[in-house]
Amino acid sequence: MWQFFHKLGSPKWFYGIATRLMPWLLVLGLLCLGAGLVWGLAFAPKDYLQGNSYRIIFIHVPSAFLAQSVYIMMASAALVTLVWRMKLADVFVKAAAPVGLVLTFISLFTGAVWGKPTWGTWWIWDARLTSMLILLFLYGGVIALDRAINDEKSAARAVAVLVLVGVVNIPIIKYSVDWWNTLHQPATFKLTEKPSMPAEMWVPLLLSVIGLYLLFGWLACLRMQTEILLREQRTRWVQELVHGSVSFNGGAR
């Protein structure tokens, strides 16, 4: 257990693992997301009330789901940064923040596109929408603070403090539709209950969510690898890797 923990802190070990993991994440992610989207967009039954316009749910829900999950993952990593000073944790925060920002933007954008035919307006100051907008601002703040501090270590710890402070917003987003009577519908998936939609609708939706998770994993690995190479550029293993005498594709050690 402790050896694993120790290894997890080693950028070199992670680089090797990530190299072997990434093709799987990419292929499985594309398969799941592709299957979910094709099934959802082309074959799933029409909604009796909203007709075809509801199909944007297959993009909207996965991205909104991920936008929140990514922040929670970042917050966990931020806690690890502050408590154990693990290098990889802050590499993750730095790599994930822009991805989270884009996902939040996609969910807001698709939400607006969906809102126009359904609610008759692009935007309303509804609790769920507003708290997602705040999430977008939080991601922006994290990225801005990270860029503003030159020293890598200080940036990592300052960003970690900010991410943890901002985590207050996550339960507000999550429960806003339950606490307040708003226009936005309640959560699509709950662990404890059966989904309220037929299987032909929620199975492709679940597939797209899983696919997007896997693709996020792939993208996070890729971005983390880039960041690791940048940070460790003076170490021997990176030099050897770049000049081609060590290969991580086969037996990484």
Binding site: I134, A144, A148, I149, K153, S154, R157, A158, V161
Partner: protein
């Protein structure tokens, strides 16, 4: 005779009092700095009747929100001063080196900041409230929400001020980081006044604002202290 160990020579509470008293003294020697947020507060409030509409009905409806937003912006503006001078002249490093827990000293500084900016804003609110045609009851509720809300603004703001200490363009960055965190306080602050105007009970809103205050009071000083240590190791 027993000699007290050095780190118990001054108790934490005494140290907090000393920090608080010092901040007050420094502030009163630069009185203009105290006046600036208040002037800013009044000017922002003035912009709305001139820029949007001087209609009494509009002002009555939007007045509480305008005052809250203006108060929020003035607190935001004053945050830059919270640690800046002490950071520049090295006082902050001495504070970090004290044997007393840093979060308590930061709490004392934040309390001083509130007494110097938040409290005057609350005291000025009735005057501006009359100017935007709020009725007596609304003004009383508004003052109460600001009294509970502005300490939260100072406490959360201290985190941002500590994080951006010594950075280029710290002012804009500070606003970017802090405004998202201010939004819930603003929503419940103005929500209270809106509920009172409709004759609805305001107890639940005030309780929520109070909960924000308790949460900020207990957690924010730790975050500010951690952020200060990061910023000082950075410089």
């Amino acid at each position: 005779m027993m000699i007290k160990p050095l780190d118990q020579a001054v108790g934490s509470i005494d140290a907090m009092k000393a920090v608080f008293a010092r901040d007050m003294k420094v502030a009163f020697r630069q009185r203009q700095d105290l006046l600036n947020p208040l002037l800013f507060f009044m000017m922002v409030v003035t912009l709305f009747p001139l820029g949007v509409s001087p209609e009494i009905s509009f002002l009555q409806e939007a007045g509480a929100g305008i005052l809250w937003v203006a108060a929020l912006l003035s607190v935001l503006l004053s945050l830059d001063h919270l640690f800046r001078h002490d950071f520049d002249d090295g006082t902050l490093e001495q504070l970090v080196l004290q044997p007393q827990p840093l979060f308590l000293l930061v709490l004392a500084k934040t309390m001083a900041h509130w007494v110097l900016t938040g409290l005057p804003l609350v005291l000025l609110t009735p005057v501006l409230g009359v100017m935007v045609h709020l009725d007596g009851n609304s003004i009383a509720i508004l003052c109460l929400t600001l009294l509970i809300g502005t300490p939260v603004l100072s406490l959360i703001g201290a985190i941002g001020a500590a994080l951006t200490l010594g950075l280029r363009s710290a002012g804009v960055l500070l606003s970017l980081l802090i405004i998202p965190l201010y939004i819930p306080v603003l929503i419940f602050g103005t929500g209270t006044v809106a509920a009172a105007a409709e004759g609805a009970p305001v107890g639940a809103y005030l309780a929520l604002l109070g909960a924000f205050l308790v949460l900020a009071l207990t957690l924010a000083p730790f975050a500010s202290a951690a952020a200060l240590k990061v910023s000082l190791s950075n410089s």
